[in-house]
Symmetry: C3
Subunit: 131 residues, 3 copies
């Protein structure tokens, strides 16, 4: 699956696209997701603007600020040291169970892609269905 | 698997129930776990009271305090903004290898459910065995 | 797979060994990894010294310092309370897709083992290929 992001902690809701992809499968199974790249991550979240646009960003800015001196930035003359660290801490891999074409996530729990890079990116999320 | 929790960072040891469920399987395999809901997470931990009842809570309270102003709380008039952020950071999905009916975890490493919500909850952990 | 580490946040690049193990597999599949033990974790990262030797360590020392009083340490008279908490937060399990013998990670994205213990360890990472 391909997604265009704005970077800068944009959170993309993957559940709509993912739900389409598994709609045809009867019985029980798992769908594994992996985001390629060192500055993005996958998790789940209630997809409402307070959390997605404010609280998550505020937390990550407090914990892994974008304005500390990172050796990564000094070495490569770039500005995304914090993006790498945030991505490593949350992780690139997630597996979700489904049954009869529906994700078995909680009522408000959405599968999310988090893009921590400092510029717009095109992201590849590799989905593998296990039945 | 269903578990009643007290919320408020209660940590439940899933290994005993999980060990029962895989005891019958010969050969090698994987068991995937997923917790439904946006305010709980899965990981592993040495299950001793110092870590489980004190150190983990103290760390999370320092990193993602329950008494900061969260937009989520202002929007929905609730009190669990920190619960959502903690759950997203640790993640809802975990896969554990087993062999001949035994989990291949470390000697003291237990599979845990963390409930970050601010009230008692009944949690569903979906277990899928891959052989 | 067995790896000798120095502990103290040493980061080991697992991609070279992992790439050898999956080189023979045609078609698409997944490789699941699990690190046994309560003071180590798995994730991905661009494997360059700025991030690996400095930025990640500095972040974790700021967020989960090794010199706070941990109940775990008081109980067991040891010094690795922070190691346990760091490991639980990042997590012991990771699944990576591959195709025709190659990991489908990003160009600079390496699979890593993080050892947070306070002494050298021999670590077992259990790899399971799903095809």
């Amino acid at each position: 699956m391909e997604f265009a992001t704005e970077g800068n902690n944009e959170v993309i809701n993957l559940s709509p696209e993912l739900s389409k992809r598994i709609a045809e499968f009867r019985g029980s199974g798992l769908v594994h997701l992996f985001v390629a790249g060192s500055t993005a991550a996958l998790s789940t979240m209630e997809f409402e603007p307070g959390l997605v646009k404010h609280d998550l960003k505020a937390t990550l800015q407090r914990l892994v600020p974008d304005d500390l001196p990172y050796e990564h930035e000094a070495t490569w003359n770039d500005d995304n040291g914090h993006s790498h660290i945030r991505a490593t801490m949350i992780g690139p891999s997630l597996t979700i169970p489904f049954s009869n074409g529906k994700l078995l996530t909680g009522e408000y729990q959405q599968v999310i892609l988090l893009d921590f890079d400092t510029r717009p990116r095109r992201r590849t999320v590799i989905a593998t269905v296990l039945v």
